[in-house]
């Protein structure tokens, strides 16, 4: 039987048990492990292409949360990526579009075009150091640093976004690489006993 209503799916196969949250098929697993990886693909993701020094005030290479908890990332010169709770992409896009001057830029909904995942835990940097050549020392990539680099040979945007005092990295890549990248991170984290933790809203 065809699903009704339609269910959105991440490119990353969910770890059991599976649930539907906010129209998305997600993993409902809860992990208490020290090192956890979460599929965050359901997050709303908005790409803004504009001019440097545009409406956001977040510089290239940094990420900050606005008053609504939306994570605004300066992901490139004249480029910002916004992460919001699952299901809010439309509102986010509209809000951004009205803030931009006419002809000043363009807003794209990349919610379905990017796979996102987060690694959290004291060994998060050790895992990333196995697949990413960027210097993860605090002086070079402190909390709030954002960069684009190769992670396990895939072009990936990485944001250091510590949570609860723990080292945490939010990553996103072309959706089609999502399963591959997730598996590569699980492989790299195996020696640190990484576990999959399911997605729980708002997730950002």
């Amino acid at each position: 039987m065809a699903e009704s209503p339609a269910v959105a799916r991440s490119p990353i196969a969910p770890a059991l048990p599976v649930a539907v949250e906010n129209g998305w098929q997600v993993s409902a697993r809860r992990s208490m492990a020290d090192l956890r990886i979460t599929d965050c693909t359901p997050l709303a993701k908005i790409l803004v292409l504009g001019h440097e020094g545009g409406a956001f005030g977040v510089p290239f290479g940094r990420a900050e949360r606005d008053e609504d908890g939306v994570l605004v990332v300066g992901s490139g010169p004249g480029e910002w990526t916004l992460f919001g709770p699952s299901g809010t992409a439309g509102q986010l896009a509209e809000r951004v579009a009205t803030a931009l001057l006419p002809d000043d830029g363009a807003v794209f909904d990349l919610t379905h075009g990017r796979a996102a995942m987060r690694i959290t835990g004291p060994a998060a940097a050790d895992v990333l150091a196995k697949v990413c050549a960027i210097d993860l020392a605090g002086e070079v990539t402190p909390d709030g640093a954002a960069w684009r680099s190769s992670v396990a040979k895939v072009v990936t945007d990485v944001v250091r976004d510590d949570r609860g005092g723990q080292r945490s990295y939010l990553m996103h890549c072309d959706r089609a690489f999502g399963q591959y990248l997730f598996d590569a991170l699980l492989d790299a984290g195996a020696e640190f006993d990484i576990e999959v933790d399911g997605f729980a809203g708002p997730g950002i």
Partner: protein, 956 residues
């Protein structure tokens, strides 16, 4: 000193500072016989404790070999452990149940048939393979099989379990290569100055020569180890080695001994490198210097002080320095009778050693012949300058010290320890501490410079760094040492390669009179020890043979790796990124045959490609075309970009319309093709080929960022953001009606080459364009990718009564070939211009400018290029393989087949191909040469399409 049990007749009583743990015994086999070791024993120390002396046979001459250095580089101690060949027996720790076998010996180590090589040794001199085993050439297969049987090394079993290897990146401020006393002191000082330090030590624990310097060194060793452990900021890797130093201090570290991987390659970008490799004791060249029982003084001290093993019973010690004297004292304390101390400082010498499988006697310089079972030599030290060499330094020889020293180092490389000079332990530690502090200071300066250029690091304001004045590094004294390399008789220079001083002298006589030539001709220094034991002796022999000096002769250049490195470590984890469509789980469930298309995995077919073709022509088929390149273009100046990049015109494309476009490069060569639709006044969706998508993105951004930054255009790739489904066949409209909302599918309202947006199967944000790669009535649906699987399964389910079935890439290729639709890159190549590809109809030369225009103007005025035509073999059952050549006369190439299939629709073979212009007229018969040599005739068709040439089915 009393020896222990019968199983370990050479084991001594407990020694202070020994590294074995006598509480744990381990059983292992050597040569199928059982042996016992203590935890902490190496394979060779355990065997030596049991009284064994022969561990291998030499590479070429199969001479029996014992231990020489009792360290990682010991050339006589390469053994096979289980499935693993070329294990360093004097470094690898014994594990319970280990199966150890000798290498390079048959049938046994003691009675090696191949030692017959010694009888013909004069015919096996260095470089013999340049002069022998050549004529007659027809016997080469026989020569090869003989030579293979005599090749050295262990055995690799095809059934060996594959080991896990991985890699890791690191960014230490300071890498200290060498964990001896100087390395430890430098690491502590650097860390105390605020640097993040990576300390790398080749042996299983830190300590360097303090580990075997006897009970007096134990306290100093303990203090230094405690300091390292107690200092924050030092990451220590033992049983690991810095294998190479590359540009800008990119340092490769091979890490062993990890629990979950066999080996790990650590790629470290160090701000400074401190080389503290210590000194390597040099062997002495004389007749019989490779007979088991001839060892270095450091080997004797390692065996006694680290492993509590008595190296022999009656020894002659040949000493030129205090370390040799200390070795003699250690031997005496271990109960070894010192038959004679031959003092090189007094001009005394040893001439030759006699023995076969074991040492029997030594002849001294004064003619005395002394019976003994052990000869210990201490004739000097070699500085392992490999890492500094790799840093651009050419070491300089100091005759007074009889060794090489680094001379010119870059700012980010420092040295300490024996490689820098001599002195007491306190002097060495003082030097090392200063070097460590200075390394930290330089690292901090480099770090500040790097961070200032990184956009996302914190501001440097207010950050205190170490004082900026250079740390004063005290000079180390350089002790004099006699120059002792070779005695009065010829002996082995390179133990691993079985190269003797005679071979080097002969090479010089043959004209290989530079050290670089002599090295390559004889292979001296090219073995597993990589020159550490033999380079200086080789230089000395060549210098003497050429009447030159060591200084003038110089050394060869050390290149990475410092130590031999396994291929597994270099490979690491195999990262092969894979791109998957949202419908991939469904394809796998239907057992679709996977097709690797670049990084994408696509369904090639579902079991019956011909059946899939027929179903599309008769009913309705669905194909997953998600990998199709897609770009979302926004802004008022998008038409300018389209006009610039495409050969055709775009200014008047209406909202809701779709146009086919061809892109050429500046040289007029076809770059890509696809359709672009206008969804909104300032929003376009461009499609490209799947394989061209990444390159096209760069192409477009290049034009926008460098050529026309004033154009108001923003674009982003959406290839993976949309799941794309081509619904094709006479019943496709009927099927689409069952899922499309807010879209009028009537032919008048949705004609061919139009685009509409709306809801599909309850999913918002979809767009549909009516195009036809297959040549049938068809629609390409683009759905937000997260709903791709939902839409696909809904279509399949709701289309059951219409016989809706999936079709794969193979069927699509057949369908489009029936219609004569080319594939860029398959039916075109790097020289195919638009006119040659029969795309001249699309080229609008009256546009002011576009990429490739100049070249295309020229092409339009000429006709001497190969043309793309439709071809049908005369025999309809013959399907020429793609790339078959079209020939004229006997040898002239006049074209090639680019696409070729059996057409289920027409029941015959069909092709596309390039032909020379004079063969392009419809009806011309051309000759196709098949790979098996046969030649078949084929006819040039009036058009590219073999089926429905007027395109009526797609426009219905």
């Amino acid at each position: 000193m009393q020896v222990l049990s019968d199983t370990m007749p050479m084991r001594l009583e407990v020694r202070r500072g020994e590294r074995i743990d006598r509480r744990h015994t381990l059983g292992f086999t050597w040569n199928s016989d059982g042996y016992t070791a203590f935890a902490g024993d190496t394979i060779v120390s355990a065997l030596a404790a049991a009284g064994e002396r022969i561990f291998s046979r030499s590479f070429k001459l199969h001479r029996p070999r014992g231990l020489l250095t009792a360290s990682y580089i010991d050339p006589g101690c390469m053994v096979q452990v289980g499935d693993e060949p070329n294990v360093r027996g004097a470094h690898r720790l014994v594990e319970s149940g280990m199966t150890v076998l000798p290498q390079n010996a048959w049938p046994t180590l003691r009675f090696d048939v191949k030692s017959a090589n010694q009888a013909v040794g004069r015919f096996l001199s260095a470089g013999f393979y340049y002069k022998t085993f050549m004529k007659p050439e027809r016997l080469w297969p026989a020569y090869e099989s003989v030579l293979q049987r005599f090749s050295a090394g262990g055995v690799v079993s095809e059934g060996s379990e594959r080991g896990l290897y991985d890699k890791r990146y690191s960014h230490p401020d300071v890498v200290v290569a060498g964990g001896g006393p100087a390395g430890m002191a430098a690491a502590v000082a650097a860390a105390e100055a605020g640097a993040a330090v990576l300390l790398v030590e080749e042996e299983h624990e830190l300590g360097g020569h303090l580990r075997w310097a006897g009970p007096d060194a134990v306290d100093a060793l303990g203090e230094l180890r405690a300091a390292v452990a107690a200092t924050d900021g030092i990451e220590t890797m033992t049983d690991s080695v810095v294998t190479g130093r590359y540009d800008d201090n990119w340092v490769a570290v091979l890490q062993r001994g990890l629990p979950h991987v066999k080996e790990r390659l650590v790629k470290a970008r160090a701000k400074t490198l401190v080389a503290a490799p210590g000194l390597i004791e040099r062997p002495y060249v004389f007749e019989g210097n490779d007979i088991p029982g001839v060892i270095l003084s450091t080997a004797a001290r390692r065996l006694i002080n680290m492993y509590a093993v008595k190296p022999g019973h009656r020894a002659v010690v040949f000493s030129a320095n205090a370390d040799g004297d200390a070795a003699a004292a250690d031997l005496e304390r271990a109960g070894v009778e010192i038959a004679r101390l031959v003092d090189a400082r007094k001009g005394e010498d040893i001439v030759r050693v006699s023995g076969g499988k074991g040492l029997r006697s030594v002849e001294c310089g004064d003619g005395a012949k002394i019976k003994c079972d052990l000869v210990v030599t201490a004739v000097g030290w070699t500085a392992p300058t490999s890492l500094t060499n790799m840093s651009g330094d050419r070491p300089a020889y100091n005759p007074r010290a009889a060794r090489f020293f680094p001379s010119t180092l870059p700012d980010d490389v420092l040295v300490t320890g024996g490689i820098a000079g001599d002195g007491s332990l306190d002097q060495l530690l003082g030097h090392a501490r200063a070097v460590g502090s200075e390394a930290a200071r330089r690292s901090a300066r480099i770090g500040r410079r790097m961070r200032a250029s990184v956009p996302h690091s914190e501001s440097e304001e207010g950050r205190e760094g170490p004082a900026d004045s250079p740390v004063i590094i005290p000079e180390l004294p350089i002790s004099g040492h006699p120059e002792l390399f070779m005695g009065r008789t010829h002996g082995v220079v390179d133990y691993s390669e079985d190269v003797g001083s005679k071979d080097l002298v002969a090479a010089v006589k043959e004209g290989y009179d530079s050290i670089e030539l002599a090295k390559r001709y004889t292979t001296a220094t090219m073995g597993p020890a990589q020159g550490k034991l033999e380079t200086v002796n080789a230089v000395a022999v060549v210098a003497a043979a050429t009447g030159s000096t060591i200084e003038a002769t110089g050394t060869t250049v050390w290149r990475p790796p410092f130590n031999p490195i396994s291929l597994g470590a270099l490979a690491g984890r195999i990262f092969e990124p894979v791109m998957l469509s949202p419908m991939q789980p469904w394809h796998e469930g239907r057992r679709a045959k996977p097709l690797v298309a670049g990084t994408w995995i696509r369904p090639d077919h579902y079991g019956d490609p011909a059946g899939e073709v027929n179903n599309v022509r008769t009913n309705v088929g669905l194909i997953d075309v998600t990998p199709l390149g897609k770009f979302d273009l926004r802004g008022p100046d998008v038409p300018k970009l389209l006009n610039q990049l495409y050969v055709n015109k775009w200014s008047k494309l209406a909202v809701g319309s779709v146009r086919y476009g061809v892109m050429c490069a500046e040289d007029g060569v076809v770059l890509d093709d696809g359709v672009t639709g206008r969804l909104e006044p300032n929003r376009y969706m461009m499609s490209t080929t799947s394989s061209g998508a990444a390159a096209l993105w760069e192409w477009m951004e290049n034009w926008l960022q460098t050529e026309h930054p004033e154009w108001r255009v923003h674009l982003t790739p959406m290839t993976s953001a949309y799941a794309s489904i081509n619904v094709a066949g006479p019943k496709s409209r009927e099927l689409l009606k069952r899922v499309a909302e807010e879209i009028d599918l009537s032919p008048d309202d949705f004609p061919y080459m139009r685009v509409r947006t709306g809801r599909i199967a309850g999913v918002d944000g979809c767009f549909v364009w009516r195009i036809g790669f297959t040549g049938e009535l068809g629609y390409e649906i683009h759905v937000p990718a997260s709903y791709g699987l939902h839409v696909w399964t809904t279509l399949i389910e709701l289309g059951a009564d219409l016989k809706a079935q999936p079709f794969g890439v193979e069927a699509q290729r057949i369908l489009r070939l029936e219609k004569g639709h080319m594939i860029i890159g398959q039916d075109t190549d790097g020289l195919t211009g638009a006119y040659g590809a029969e795309l001249g109809w699309a080229v609008k030369l009256d546009k002011e400018d576009f990429a490739g225009k100049r070249e295309l103007v020229w092409q339009s005025e000429h006709d001497d290029y190969f043309r793309l035509v439709g071809l049908q073999p005369a025999d309809p059952s013959e399907v020429p393989p793609e790339a078959s050549q079209i020939i004229e006369g006997n040898k002239q190439i006049a074209g090639r087949i680019t696409s070729s299939r059996m057409s289920p629709t027409l029941g015959r073979s069909i092709c596309l191909g390039f032909v020379a212009p004079h063969l392009g007229a419809p009806g011309t018969t051309v000759t196709v040469q098949l790979p098996d040599g046969r030649r078949i005739p084929a006819t040039v068709m009036p058009q590219l399409a073999h089926f429905d040439p007027d395109g009526e089915r797609a426009r219905g």
